[in-house]
Symmetry: C2
Subunit: 505 residues, 2 copies
């Protein structure tokens, strides 16, 4: 008898509610009483910690140093870059008082108004920029390669756990260079670093490219991004890297004496990924049984479940299970000890098993009284049929685990890559384009074609029309597609290469 599926509704029925249910059954996060701010629970935070640890290593290995800048930005700082402030002014938390006092009715009210309001950072270009201006004097001070892990706040009208929250956690890199070429190189280097990270750790086959003018970060000269497809075929912008030219240097006065002795404005960049990555990987890999995790970032990679129902063999089974767990912890996957949980809780078999399935633990090893005699364990893979068990001699199972973890990691990437390819189309006419983004099935209005690669000639009018008609935007001008020229499918004008179109989160 197959137990009830963990998730209702299924992905097919209602993707949006399915997503919320996955987060709930895997116990990843929940909404807080502060609208738009989420509570990240232990399992969700452990995922973020693993993302942090791996990415932090890669950032340090490329010469970046971690720092911490203030949470608050004086209003006047934010104003220094015109486009920047115009965008962020719409959605920022403003601190206006530094104290509370009890008023006549006994009610607490804000007191001690600040001379200048402070903005809770939505991003830190302006506060870091004004510090760079003080630190940098000569070309010898450059490059400066910094990174910060922090919380940021952007007031959010339609919040969605992990994908779009008022407060979110992220890393923001900020660098300063003596030349345009170096800054451009850094911008692209970090984009490619994000691309490898998404692929190698999160099993997400992202598409990297450059944003169009209308989608640029406010204040940037060029914005690059990685875009992931998730299972409802929409795009998620999973990371961005910005080349600022000299915009923020002019705004903040970041000047240096060049080799030739002239006073020049420096070239700056910034780049970031956030807790959004957690939402993206949930949406890409999970299924109707709950969360599915790539082993490299799974908080627990193998759960060992002794089946302790029979009293007379309880001690023996437990001892064997402990030995299995200990041996596994001594083994390595990707140069790190395997993360093993020994689940000896006094709960029913089905409850325990389904809990680990829903939480997406890659491998489950079960071990009962019968297995004592045969010297075997039952192994299940979360990425295949999670209930199916393969009985293996214990030694063989233990020897296989590292290879299996690698296999699961590769399998998730392959599945995602195939999914993404299967739902990405070259489109060569406007009619075809509109058809592609029209739902085929009245019962599932949210499911459409997926990603489109089509010629487009740089017209922002077309972008506005597509947004209004179909809620479709250009995600990027991708790097890794053939650069064959053609004609814009909307205007007929010449186009040097295809753009990537999609609906997005």
């Amino acid at each position: 008898m197959k137990p009830q599926q963990a998730i209702s509704p299924t992905r097919e029925k209602d993707f949006s509610r399915w997503y919320q249910r996955v987060i709930q059954v895997a116990d990843l996060a929940e909404n807080s009483e502060v609208r738009g701010c989420m509570i990240i629970k232990p399992w969700g935070y452990a995922l973020w910690e693993n993302i942090q640890a791996a990415l932090d290593c890669m950032l340090k290995a490329t010469g970046h140093h971690n720092v911490y800048f203030p949470l608050f930005i004086p209003l006047s700082h934010l104003q220094r870059e015109a486009k920047h402030v115009r965008e962020f002014a719409k959605e920022c938390a403003v601190v206006t008082h530094s104290r509370l006092e009890t008023c006549d009715g006994g009610k607490l009210v804000p007191a001690s108004p600040l001379k200048e309001p402070l903005i809770v950072r939505p991003t830190s270009e302006t506060i870091i920029g004004s510090t760079f201006a003080k630190w940098i004097h000569s070309y010898r001070d450059l490059p400066i390669l910094l990174n910060q892990w922090a919380n940021v706040v952007r007031w959010e009208m339609r919040p969605r756990l992990f994908l779009r929250t008022t407060e979110f956690l992220w890393q923001e890199g900020h660098t300063v260079h003596a030349t345009e070429a170096e800054a451009t190189e850094e911008t692209k280097r970090m984009l490619h670093l994000y691309e490898s990270f998404a692929r190698d750790y999160l099993a997400l086959p992202v598409i990297s490219g450059e944003k169009t003018i209308s989608e640029r970060f406010p204040g940037a000269v060029r914005t690059f991004c990685i875009e992931a497809m998730v299972q409802d075929r929409r795009a998620v912008q999973a990371g961005t890297s910005h080349f600022f030219g000299q915009n923020f240097s002019r705004a903040s006065g970041i000047r240096f004496q060049s080799r030739s002795g002239r006073l020049e404005y420096a070239w700056t960049t910034s780049w970031g990924v956030s807790t959004r990555l957690v939402g993206t990987l949930i949406m890409m890999h999970s299924d109707d049984d709950g969360l599915v995790l790539p082993p490299r970032i799974a908080p627990i990679q193998v759960v060992v479940m002794p089946l302790l129902s029979k009293e007379e063999t309880r001690t023996l089974v437990l001892t064997r299970a402990e030995s299995v767990a200990t041996r596994l912890r001594g083994a390595c996957f990707c140069n790190q000890p395997i993360r093993v949980e020994l689940d000896t809780r006094n709960l029913g078999y089905g409850t325990k098993k389904w809990e680990w399935i829903k939480k997406g633990v890659p491998i489950r090893l079960e071990l009962g009284a019968r297995d004592l005699e045969t010297g075997s364990v039952a192994l299940s893979r979360r990425d295949l049929s999670p209930e199916e068990r393969r009985f293996l001699p214990t030694d063989q199972a233990l020897a296989e685990v590292p290879r299996l973890l690698a296999n699961i990691q590769a399998n998730l990437l392959a599945l995602a890559t195939n999914f993404c390819s299967a739902h990405t189309c070259h489109v060569s006419s406007e009619r075809e384009f509109y058809q592609f983004f029209t739902p085929r099935n009245a019962g599932r209005p949210e499911i459409h074609g997926g990603f489109v690669l089509a010629h487009w000639n740089d017209s922002s009018n077309i972008e506005e029309k597509l947004k209004a008609d179909l809620k479709v935007t250009i995600r990027c001008i991708p790097f890794n597609v053939s650069k064959e020229s053609g004609k814009c499918i909307f205007t007929g004008k010449p186009s040097p290469q295809r753009a990537l179109f999609a609906r997005s989160y």
Copy 2:
């Protein structure tokens, strides 16, 4: 010729300015343009990261899970515990608006007032408490053992880098238990964990004990703390652990069905340490040449400096230095690869050497052309005379490094312990007490006796008088002193044991 001392003024001349100078010359942090908020620079942040990593391991090993709760607390939540809000209302940043708009004069002003103001968390008992109330139903849900690494804000009138800043970084543990005994045990377990951490990693011999009523955390039933002595003989409260009884459970409605089926209020605790630890260790270990770091938390444990002045031996010296660095990186100290920096920058010998001395790197290995022939390196220890060099055969030096690091760690703890003992006195009369806290030297008004252990009979009037007369407070009723009873030196009334008195930061 001895080069100029790195720090002016010296500790003796002006401790407070010396402290600022150490932070400056070691490039740890600086004040930002937002009053009271600091910028933590790479070397300072790396220290904090090492503190985090080590402590995080200890917290996880004792069964705690990391989570993340919102930055903002609705005003009404903060108000639920009367003492709590009374204290924190004096110093909190209040968010009142969620947008900026341009007014007629072109000036940006706060817009979209919030229905209810939000407080930037000064600590998270109230927001976490209201979530616990939702999560907890039965004794089976307990204990809950959570921890959060976060930034908090307490408006600070007299800020001092690391020791007292408006925004600071910390960890805050929050736990819920079914019984008073379990909650008390947790409170003490975490205090002792902090005590070991301070001793074993930071080489700080702290004194642990219980706060008097007047020094309790607002809302706590009992507050425990660790107190460190620093080199001007003042105390720094380096960590606290609070037993809340059922106060916050009543305030937030955290109730559960007990084993006997009754609905009961749960028992809660919280505990935390912050970036204050960085300030404490600077004040305890550093000297007039700059920062001195305990090896276990030093971002770099050994710096290898090839002396590359002679062009003809440059390549050979460099190759040898690289090989020394590589071999060291393959060695371990405290079960982790040794953190090694190979400094090949094109700077003068003195500049480079003094930079590492000022930054407190425990061991410096220098290697020049002459050493090629003799096969030796010059080794210097930061904790002894940092300029003195011992010439050793390379193999011997490399073999010695792990032992030397352990030795330096132990030496710093021994020095601190001796210093603390030498400046802690048993005092048995009020006259003696006042003398002890009176400066002996007109030229150094800040230097007084240090810590006093004296009998005191629980009178808060005396505490107020000592604060007013001498700026002295009771730091704690220490655990680890002999519990001999006596008579209060101020009132003559019976006293069960001695209290610890000091001036503090």
